[in-house]
Amino acid sequence: MTTTSLTTGPRWARLPRRHVPVLVTLALLLVMYGIGVSQYRAFSNIQVIFNVFIDNGFLLVVAVGMTFVILTGGIDLSVGSVVAMTAMVSAWLLESGLPALPVLIIALLIGPTLGFLMGCAIHFFDIQPFIVTLAGMFFARGMCTFISDSSIRITDGFWTTMAQYRIGDPRGNFVSVSVLIAFAVVLIAAYVLAYTRLGRNVYAIGGNPQSALLMGLPVGRTRIAVYTISGLCSAIGGILLSFYTLSGAPLIAVGMELDVIAAVVIGGTVLTGGSGYVFGTVLGVLVLGVIQTLITFDGSLNSWWTKIVIGGLLFAFILFQRLIGIRYK
């Protein structure tokens, strides 16, 4: 989405304005990384960056799905539980002896199905997304403990390969397969949002659902679609998480929905819908990842100071993001 003409003043000036929030976020992220490098020696290792991606791959995928939902002005609280449920179901099915492929298929179907049902409830019965997805969250988490109240190990060959295969350079820096999957999801999502009718309808609904309806856009279908997409992303995230931990555990990813929403919003997407980019979401996830990395590298904080410092860093980041962003408004 570039403008052809760079000659006219106002048009040129207007173009980046839309991207200012994302650019500011990127700049601040780099500043934060710079601080890390200057403070802690090993921070400059390439692998540290790779680790941020490895450790946050599943979060990224889920956040991409959430971006769709938030862009329409909705919210999906069920993601964390759906991630856990997907991992749990995979582990459980693998344990019961099913081969990898059918397990993958089943696991990848559960999330979107639940998302679809939630979308239908939201659209057809006009119930607030918050409640519907909260019920979805209870349901999915309930399914986890229902399946097993202790964690289940995954020993399947495919899973272990996916978990431990390293794609890297000769110097030993590497990323996991999950990172590539996450990138693929990001690219597809960015394409869908920018270049397909579905994507544009998502933005339109977020801008003004009433207008979108009167403009003859398929509001209902799109609404249902975004919750389904979010469900699918959560399912993929769940699979990635099961690669990551090689197990399904009933209590994993508790409270993840908040991290995900935070990442999306930090990435510049507005909670009321209609504005934001997937790339921003990537940055949002990285911000959380780098904050976490800074904290572990420091290693001198006790439990409560950890929380206070996370909150403080988050605050500083958002404050700068906001203040710098305002200037360009």
């Binding site: 989405m1 403008t3 052809t4 106002p10 048009r11 207007r14 173009l15 839309r18 394409y191 920018a194 270049y195 397909t196 009718r197 544009r200 309808n201 933005y203 339109a204 977020g206 801008g207 003004n208 009433q210 207008s211 979108a212 309806l213 009167l214 403009m215 003859g216 856009l217 398929p218 209609g274 504005s275």
Partner: protein
């Protein structure tokens, strides 16, 4: 001119909302190649008829036939797929999307499923040129004034190859130039055989373009008439069910004479007030009892000027004096303390609080001025609300319905009442008669005259130049976001002279930015 067989037939349509019967047994026919005006007072059921047709609301009774088929659309999406293209009342666009995208969303040119953005922009530019509008199509639609948005919505509708084109008050904030342009396009489409349903409250427009008229009153059909058989006065009579003496009386009123106001200190005097990127510095004085009109074309900066007077936007240069005392208008609260009121042109985004009731919407400004600790006693509320519901003939006359359920024109009246209740010393009216029916418009004009006679100053903005001239003592002419002239509204001033001033106004264009 017309085919013998209607493209659209609605028979026996009834539609009720809880507590309101919006349509009762209405018949309506639309022929290919005609412009058909749907007329009626505010709340007569025009918009409801349109929404029922396009499936926004379900119907209680009746049938709709499009072409040869009986239809019951489940929503605008189906309707537009069947060849019914609609511009609904109020601008219905997505503020966050670009102009080009708003025009094409839902039917973007695509290549292998991917939207061709270049093509979208190119076609949008072309389409807007047809409407004589040259704007940056990549900018978000929210960055344009309401009038431009209205044009964009029209552009969206006329691009569709439709059988039926419905325009619900498309001209409510356009001025003469744009209206003429729109009519040119409408005639073109009509000649191509498209059936056009057109709603407006401007009688001249009706007689300028319509072939036939259907009149609704109180949700029932009054009749369907060829334009030639229904002279203006008869039409008005059919619409309001009685003869309109008010209107005539106002027409007869002498020009507003500039009284001996100029001598005293003006109520508000601004000098070199301006805001970068919005409006070039200008000076203007308004005396108590004076009506100052702002004239100008679409996007000329009238709204921007008005907002500075109210502190809705903060001026970044210039001086303000209220009652001769220098001050600054930093925010609406402060302006209100000085006794200034501002009725915005954009009633949906900046006017009504849709969830709140008519009563609450009306007393809001007064309550805000009193502070939350001193609620207006219920009895007083009732008095005020009742008084203005009657004065402005707001329907339904029930103060406790949510204002969102009112028809567009009635919402506008509620907003007007909100400010009248506060009895301001200076009332800024930005397109106060937008979407208001002819009877009520006369009432409002009368009210403005009355209030200014009683000492209230008014800053009056309207797309309808005649209206401005009829009411104002003084007319300030705007052009390209600059105030180019101030004319005393005496016998020498008429619409033509103002248009000339606009056309030839000094062009200090560079200086304004």
């Amino acid at each position: 001119m017309t085919d013998s067989r209607p493209v659209l037939t609605m028979t026996g349509i009834s539609k009720s909302f809880p507590g309101v019967r919006a349509l009762h047994n209405v018949d309506f026919r639309l022929f290919p190649g005609e412009v058909h005006a749907l007329m009626g007072e505010n709340g007569a059921g025009k918009s409801t008829l349109i929404k029922v047709l396009t499936g926004v609301y379900g119907i209680d009774e009746g049938t709709i036939t499009l072409g040869d088929e009986q239809v019951a659309f489940s929503g605008p999406m189906q309707a537009s797929a069947a060849g019914v293209s609609t511009v609904y009342q109020e601008v219905n666009l997505c503020p966050n999307l670009s102009v080009a995208e708003n025009i094409f969303i839902g039917r973007e040119p695509r290549l292998f499923g991917a939207v061709r953005w270049g093509e979208v922009r190119r076609r949008a530019r072309k389409l807007l040129t047809r409407l004589d509008l040259d704007i940056d199509v990549t900018a978000p639609v929210a960055s344009y004034s309401l009038a431009v948005q209205q044009m964009v919505a029209i552009a969206r509708a006329i691009d569709v190859q439709a059988r039926v084109l419905i325009l619900d008050e498309p001209t409510s904030s356009l001025d003469a130039g744009e209206v003429a342009q729109l009519f040119r396009v409408m005639r073109q489409l009509r000649d191509e055989g498209i059936a056009i349903l057109f709603v407006t409250h401007f009688l001249d427009q009706v007689y300028g373009i319509a072939d036939r008229i259907t009149v609704l009153r109180n949700g029932t059909l009054v009749g369907e008439y060829p334009i030639a058989e229904l002279p203006q006065l008869a039409l008005v009579e059919k619409m309001i069910g009685k003869e309109l003496d008010v209107l005539e009386r106002l027409e007869e009123q002498p020009r507003r004479e500039l009284a001996a106001l100029e001598g005293g200190t003006p109520f508000v005097a601004v000098s070199e007030l301006g805001r970068k990127g919005a409006i070039a510095p200008f000076s203007l004085t308004i005396h108590a009892g004076e009506v100052v009109g702002l004239a100008g074309l679409l996007g000329s900066g009238r709204t921007e000027a008005a907002r500075l007077f109210f502190g809705a936007d903060r001026a970044d240069r210039g001086e303000v004096a209220v009652n001769g005392k220098p001050t600054s208008l930093r925010n609406p609260v402060q302006a209100i303390e000085y006794g200034i009121g501002f009725c915005s042109e954009n009633r949906r985004a900046e006017g009504i609080i849709p969830d709140l009731s008519v009563r609450e919407n009306m007393i809001l400004a007064m309550q805000a001025a009193r502070g939350w600790l001193r609620p207006i006693p219920r009895r007083r509320q009732d008095e005020l609300v009742e008084q203005y519901i009657k004065a402005l003939s707001i329907r339904p006359a029930n103060p406790d319905v949510p204002v969102r359920n009112l028809s567009g024109g009635n919402q506008q009246k509620v907003l007007l009442a909100r400010w009248l209740i506060t009895e301001p010393r200076l009332l800024i009216l930005d397109e106060p008669t937008r979407g208001i029916d002819i009877g009520a418009k006369a009432e409002i004009q009368k009210l403005v005259v009355q209030l200014s006679d009683g000492g209230m100053a008014v800053l009056f903005i309207s797309a309808e130049l005649e209206e401005v001239l009829r009411l104002s003592h003084k007319v300030a002419v705007m052009r390209d976001r600059e105030m180019v002239a101030q004319l005393d509204n005496d016998d020498t001033v008429d619409a033509e002279r103002v248009m000339q001033t606009i056309a030839s106004g000094s062009t200090r264009k560079e200086a304004s930015q």
